[in-house]
Assembly symmetry: C3
């Protein structure tokens, strides 16, 4: 089971790294930049989680497998972008699977390190979305997850299953699989039917501390 | 006194979270994005401080009160922006109070964890300004605190009072209150009279490693 | 030797801080913002490395020398930009020296803390490039190192020398000097002859998860 989990974890890392490499290519980074984006997208979520729960050094730093999986994804994307292009739908599928895996694995690790249930679920979600957020911040874009369809909510739902199952002392394997499948399914349905969260309506926007900050909001960015 | 400090700390978190939520609304994030900005603005300063002084897991992660205060601020802002709008002046007032509280509390925590006085004051200031900085970075804006009026300097003044008082072995409660009030007062006076720090004059700008980097400075951003 | 290393480390911090201050001046930050950029550019790489290898509190936080070196660089740049302007070539030279120093020192520290060789070299490289990356992210620019000439690769080469020398149990001092000189030389040659890494060719760009994200790529940023 340990080996299976590692394989699943590395698969998730690889798929997220593909998304980082692809984003880097679109912004015309050089080879090194593409590899950095691959590593960041594949591992930043887990690294931040490990720093926050004091599981240092983070797994992605103490174990070179994660670096290797990330570099492989970056190199494939860089030299054979046509493969990734052809695989676009599978990649979205893998990404949803990676999100589910990371969310439940992150939640369980946080529980093991003694976090309370609410924060363990938040850290599980963070494990799933942190890589994409760091990818976007490095490319000076507002993280997609902050304004797109149901992505973080799917991760949070999977994490919640783990937390609730753990509180009820249900068998860990069944709970983990249920959580990952729920997240995976929600994410696919969100893509399929275009689900999204509400956005604040326009004219009611408040404008508290904005007197000093120029609003270069949506139109120019 | 422990309860009082916790209440003050959560009040500071709540008010900073309001600023994060408001900024997220202006940039048209969805509900999840607004809540992330709330949490980041309310807690990033303290989280980074705790990571740096090795007080892990950070208080904002091990204790769910901070998450609850941040989410409450985000939800109120999202569904009742008119309330925040009407409260604009009170919010600026609370923000100044939160800055003072965070600056002195952060400094004291850093001293307790054995930092030297100069760095303890820096970390106290960071506690006060870190949330706003992470809010702005997530929205791909240059942090307001790096170019606006007297904000960080007020936090640093409050932190300095704590450090000096601690070195002179003055009573902790009196020193803490003095530092917080000084920061609060300086901040209000800076708003009232438009105090700001000097900015380098234009034509003398050096241009060292800029050959590679396009300067999209003030005009477009 | 300890003193020599500290002097070299502080020199590297000072020179990197100059680059941060210069970038902050160009973007019209106020004095405080320039000083923050100085500290971030001079120390972020080492701080992140120390957090990742659990060497907390990071040296740049527990020891005030680094803050002093950073502030000195920031103040000189702010009040005497003409000095920095006149020194532009020396600064590029110092920057290359700082890169070499940080890369080998970071690698050795990671090895001492028990990291495996591959990740130790990566962390050494990160020590060298992390400051510049955080400087650019704070200014909402895509980190220069992700798309410019040979910079990170020079750091990685120096780090690799340390890792290989350590595995072969060669004398540490000789290995360190060789690594630093190799990095320094590669960097100077890259500047001199305009070496750079390949960039993905244009029309083959894949476009995986971009349906949601506006591409404000090169033209506007």
């Amino acid at each position: 089971m340990g080996t299976l989990l590692l394989v699943l974890d590395l698969t998730g890392t690889f798929v997220f790294a593909l998304s980082g490499a692809t984003a880097g290519m679109k912004r015309r980074l050089d080879l090194f930049g593409v590899l950095v984006l691959s590593f960041a997208a594949g591992n930043a979520g887990g690294i931040v989680r490990d720093l926050l729960i004091d599981a240092t050094p983070p797994a992605a730093i103490s174990n070179w497998y994660y670096l290797a999986a990330s570099l492989l994804a970056g190199l494939v994307t860089f030299w054979r972008p046509s493969i990734i292009d052809r695989l676009r739908n599978p990649v979205l599928l893998f990404d949803a699977a990676g999100l589910g895996l990371f969310a439940v694995a992150g939640t369980q690790k946080a529980l093991v390190f003694g976090l309370n249930p609410a924060m363990a679920a938040v850290l599980g979600m963070l494990t799933g979305i942190g890589g994409g957020m760091s990818r976007d911040v490095l490319l000076t874009e507002v993280p997609t997850v902050l304004r797109s369809d149901i992505y973080a909510m799917a991760a949070l739902a999977g994490a919640a299953v783990v937390v609730i199952g753990s509180a009820l002392r249900l068998p860990a394997t069944a709970v983990t699989i249920t959580g990952a499948v729920l997240c995976f399914g929600l994410r696919l349905m969100a893509i399929r039917w275009g689900w999204h969260l509400p956005i604040a309506s326009g004219p009611e926007q408040p404008a508290m501390p904005a007197s000093k900050r120029k609003d270069d909001g949506e139109t120019k960015h």
